[in-house]
């Protein structure tokens, strides 16, 4: 278990992270979400002991990072934002070095390096010089390094940044795979990623925690905001008039021109039910409906709302999963 208690970090007089607390249970995948510059990397650096905190503590399996740094570091595998790889080394050589650095016994090194190479599909490039590899591969080498020493906790700082969509999918699958054996904390500013792999998220903004909750609970908070995306052919004023005439539709938030005569409308709606009468009305009005879909209010709305509102405080360090957000809807 990782317990983060009232962690604060000042860079000079500038607060990077202020009084954050949360707990990560064993075998949990926790998403650490926030816009750029929110303090994600600073927090992760403090959890891994790279950076001392100004105040507050991190307890990893009961060991205090400030008092027993070596014990804590043995339990943690860390992939920083920029993979800490030496460009002049070969992949295998680097991993062997990293295993030695982490104190993996000599007899076990080969086995662990092979395991890490295989997990990240690096076996084919193991003899190549890291400096000649692409960004995606370098990221994977950094990831492989984090697995060495079989750490109980994996801390991954933006593991998918700079990867192509296929690689992003692979990393996500890998995280899900690793979650069976490790406790994972990973940071990202991509929401789809959190939704795909995490059970619980911590949302942070400007160094303060905005929410610590499960994804379902967070999504429930903003339910009621439903949008319909409609692609229809016909004159814009006419289509707009028809949309407004249908009962249950709200404001038209956005109109994006598509091909000539075709526009895509984003409409607020009370429920899914509005789709049927809307299509019927448009067809009756001689406007061709090309596409219609509902846009579920999602983590994105939660994220946008939380990162522009008052800070969240949880005196219990989030021991209960129920939503405790107290804030006015704006």
């Amino acid at each position: 278990m990782v317990e983060i208690r009232n962690l604060t970090k000042y860079y000079g007089t500038h607060p990077a992270v202020t009084d954050i607390s949360f707990t990560v249970g064993d075998h949990e995948v926790l998403g650490f979400l926030g816009p750029n510059g929110a303090g994600k990397s600073t927090t992760m650096n403090m959890i891994t002991g790279c950076l001392p905190s100004t105040s507050g503590t991190v307890l990893v399996d009961g060991h205090d990072i400030a008092k027993e740094p070596l014990q804590v570091k043995r339990l943690i595998g860390y992939l920083p934002e920029l993979p800490p790889v030496y460009p002049e080394m070969r992949v295998r050589e680097y991993l062997q070095f990293a295993a030695g650095l982490k104190g993996v016994p000599r007899a076990e090194r080969k086995k662990q390096v092979d395991y890490a190479l295989e997990k990240l599909s690096l076996t084919d490039v193991q003899q190549r010089v890291i400096g000649n590899l692409s960004k995606g591969y370098r990221q994977r080498v950094g990831f492989a390094q984090a697995l060495l020493g079989n750490p109980k906790f994996l801390i991954l700082d933006e593991p998918t940044v700079g990867l192509d969509p296929k690689q992003v999918m692979e990393v996500r699958t890998l995280i899900q795979d690793l979650a069976r054996e490790h406790t994972i904390i990973f940071s990202t500013h991509i929401l789809a990623e959190v939704a795909a792999v995490c059970e619980r998220v911590v949302i942070i903004n400007k160094g303060q925690i905005r929410a610590v909750d499960t994804i379902e609970n967070l999504e429930r908070q903003v339910s009621g905001v439903l949008r319909i995306r409609l692609k229809a052919e016909g004159e814009m004023t006419k289509v707009t008039r028809i949309i407004r005439s249908v009962k249950g539709t709200g404001d038209i938030e956005d109109v994006v021109p598509d091909t000539p005569g075709v526009n895509t409308y984003t409409i607020k709606a009370e429920s899914d039910e509005v789709r049927k009468p809307l299509v019927a009305a448009l067809v009756a009005g001689d406007c061709m409906v090309l596409e219609i879909s509902t846009l579920h209010s999602s983590l994105e709305d939660v994220f946008v709302r939380l990162t522009s509102s008052a800070p969240f405080t949880d005196p219990e360090f989030d021991t209960e999963p129920a939503p405790k957000q107290k804030e006015d809807d704006n």
Partner: protein, 243 residues
């Protein structure tokens, strides 16, 4: 810690670095060797090797920042220091491993330079005791210079700046003696004696002339240790104040 030491040594030899610096070192060495031979008077019976060290020490010393400039600055620049900051290893172990690696590379360079005494030995005669003393003095002096060079590397994230700082520090090391002997400093006896405590040149000169003294040995080793401790403090301090 051994893993780190091994990586450091390898990184010198996997890149052209060690080779080019060694080549430069040998070039300077052979130049001063040839010059010493050509200046030998016919009355001298044996070749004085320590003179080669002593007359040209400042050339050698300027090579040291080239070896040390990357030690910490490069790691900071390429963000690889997080690897050892997050590993179960203490900062002093990292500093010591890197220090020993540079000392090893420098030691290998000195081994290459043994070629010249060997030639002199075959073709003429060499005072072996003073040769050994000269090498010893040079090694001890470079222990301090390597530590100072690494300290310069630890305060910046640019290897080039680290080299410039290193050269400046080396100049300071060299001129400390002559500065302590200027009339102005001599007029303040406490200052001049304090400077002489830390000055290295006269101690090296003693070695170069074939005098071995335990107090000088202790001086060089302990000064290196103090500078290494300083590096640990610099790195720890940076962790506290910045990212």
């Amino acid at each position: 810690m051994f893993a780190l030491y091994k990586r450091e040594v390898r990184s010198y030899f996997c890149t052209p670095f060690a080779y080019i610096v060694s080549a430069l070192f040998l070039m300077v060495f052979s130049w001063s060797f040839i010059r010493s031979i050509s200046q030998m008077s016919s009355s001298t019976l044996s070749f004085q090797f320590p003179a080669v060290f002593y007359n040209n020490f400042f050339f050698f010393i300027f090579l040291i920042p080239l070896l040390t400039m990357r030690t910490f600055a490069e790691e900071r620049k390429s963000h690889t220091e997080t690897l050892w900051l997050s590993a179960p290893i203490r900062v002093w172990q990292v500093v010591l491993a890197k220090y020993l690696a540079v000392v090893t590379v420098f030691g290998l360079m000195l081994v290459l330079s043994l070629f010249y005494p060997l030639v002199a030995f075959i073709k003429g005669s060499v005072i072996v005791s003073s040769l050994i003393c000269g090498y010893l003095g040079f090694i001890l002096w470079s222990l301090v210079c390597i530590a100072v060079g690494m300290l310069c590397s630890a305060v910046t994230d640019s290897p080039i700046l680290a080299a410039v700082f290193g050269e400046a520090a080396m100049i300071f090391v060299i001129i400390l003696d002559s500065f302590a002997e200027t009339q102005f400093v001599q007029s303040l006896p406490w200052l001049s004696s304090a400077m002489l405590w830390f000055s290295t040149q006269h101690r090296f000169a003693a070695f170069a002339q074939g005098f071995f003294s335990v107090s000088d040995l202790v001086f060089f080793v302990s000064l290196s240790a103090v500078v290494l401790a300083w590096i640990v403090i610099v790195i720890e301090k940076r962790r506290w104040s910045r990212g």
